[in-house]
Symmetry: C2
């Protein structure tokens, strides 16, 4: 089944641009409740699966052995802005492990946070690996590697850390991964279907502190994300704004190339979607539409207008267009 | 006819993202030589039609009355970076007209040029309308408005400047525009088909200094663009890099929402394309592919690899993927 029209941009009463994609809503059994496009389309989840990559950190006992708190667990699931609230916590986390920035393998990234960016640029200071949006995930990898007494190249696909990630990933997606790519942060990113990713999110939605070790790990990670939305992304970012708008009842996570997932414990639903062209504006609009459809966010919440309808304003602040759902998608 | 697959992004040996679009190559008669997708698809050219919007500036005699040189004509066709080479020329142009920044109607934009951006951010200085990437086009509009002794609201669709732009636009596209949208810079942007836009570019390719006033205007604008590629966009930008790589023999221009056009005087061809989803990375790759197909750029030029094939590198500089032409497009 091909990707289907999901998000449209209109200007002057005419369609200007359109985004196609695939989306799946799964129930607690991992069955498809609703789907658009091809549920079996194979995708790279990219950063949308960071909570899956964090499962072995908790299940192994490594997180508790290192006395990680909820902020660290939220950062392990984060694609953060590189703001001080993120980088200071990751730096302390590394030093508590007896490690440093040089032990990371995520690479250097200029932060998106305006204040952090301004400070670096105006002082002619280069960013470091702690500024990388994935530095919390990598601090989690290092925590697990230390607990497993494994080697320093924790990002290599045959390292015990990534072998544990792959096992957890295949179990919660319910699929044998057809392969992996190397992510922007140099960690392996395992492929799955949109259905598999939604099934994994439905598993997280069913996480229970009194359940199995994996169910308990899932519940703790979802709690960390929903209680610390500012740590999962940052001020002004869609993940943070959407989680705040839903009052901590839903966890959402974006991924590069326009992947978006949502974990809805009350509704016992998991959502996964991929916009074929990698356009983030469309993945943000599409997940907002599905959250509205499932009653997770108030129809009159201004955050919905921000991502779902526009208006699109120009450089003089004039409304020049709007965002629309394509007919047949999540109306 | 639907949009067709044009540009693919691959990672780990798997297709990760794909862009669909429409593209047309026209000959000097305005006939379709080759097309992909729907030649009749209606699009907003956005900034890709700035050389069309500049035709009345020359045809009216306004440019010569104001003694505009080639740099000003290039800036009238530009979506510039807001670098000093752009803003200083536009500021001088306005003052030579006896006007100032406050007479512009394009709105304020933070420049993309790293040095100009750093200077503003680190001095806590707000950008002004001269930094707007369209300020050269608007200086051209003001030059024409003054020549026509018309009012100051030159951006309004019923103003003599925009009426002249619409007439020229419909004549060179060979179509009655079905309507207009308001662009990011608040000027009207008239819609046309991909074929109409390619037909207009073929007209520019046939521009002759010894021809009609319009053919002469077209030839002067193409010469200005190809001789001043750094003024049409800026350092590091696709338009500038591609025009430099082609040694001044071809003019190219990007537009918002993934429109790209090319003017090939030697081949007597015009190219227009629109990526449906508005993804600029794909419009840049697609125009590079068509320029290669028409023999306008050397197949081994490194600029082609930059836009057409990748590799896609990650934050540690590792090659993690590549860009590919979809089967059947411009191979």
């Amino acid at each position: 089944m091909p990707a289907v029209p999901m998000i449209e941009l209109w200007r002057g009463g005419m369609l200007e641009s359109m985004h196609l994609g695939h989306a799946v809503i799964c129930d607690e059994k991992g069955e498809v409740v609703e789907a658009w496009g091809d549920p079996d389309a194979v995708i790279f989840p990219r950063s949308s699966c960071k909570m899956i990559q964090a499962l072995p950190l908790l299940e192994s006992g490594a997180a508790d052995a290192a006395r990680l708190g909820e902020p660290q667990l939220a950062l392990a699931c984060a694609s953060h802005n590189g703001a001080a609230i993120h980088t200071e916590r990751v730096a302390r986390w590394l030093s508590d492990l007896g490690l440093g920035e040089e032990d990371l393998r995520c690479g250097v990234q200029m932060p998106d946070d305006p204040a952090a960016r301004k400070e670096l640029i105006c002082s002619d200071t280069s960013p470091c690996q702690i500024h990388n949006n994935c530095s919390g995930k990598h601090a989690g990898f290092l925590t697990l590697a230390k607990h497993l007494k494994a080697g320093p190249e924790y990002h290599e696909v045959d390292h015990p850390v990534q072998r544990a990630v792959r096992a957890a990933f295949e179990e919660v997606t319910g699929e044998t991964s057809p392969g992996f790519g190397i992510d922007g942060c140099s960690a392996p990113n395992f492929a799955t279907s949109v259905h598999g990713l939604a099934r994994a999110m439905a598993f997280f939605a069913g996480g229970r502190l009194e359940g199995t070790p994996r169910e308990r790990a899932a519940a703790r990670l979802v709690a960390a994300m929903t209680r610390h939305p500012e740590l999962v992304a940052g001020e002004g970012r869609a993940c943070t704004k959407l989680m705040r708008a839903m009052g901590g009842s839903v966890a959402v996570k974006t991924g590069a190339e326009a992947v978006f997932v949502a974990i809805l414990p009350k509704q016992k639903r998991g959502i996964a979607l991929k916009i074929m062209d990698g356009g983030t504006r469309a993945s943000e609009a599409a997940v907002a539409a599905l959250l509205r459809r499932l009653g997770a966010i108030a129809p009159d919440d201004p955050v919905l207008a921000r991502y779902l309808t526009g208006p699109i304003t120009n450089r003089r602040g004039l409304a020049v267009g709007d965002i629309r759902l394509s007919p047949g998608f999540a109306a």
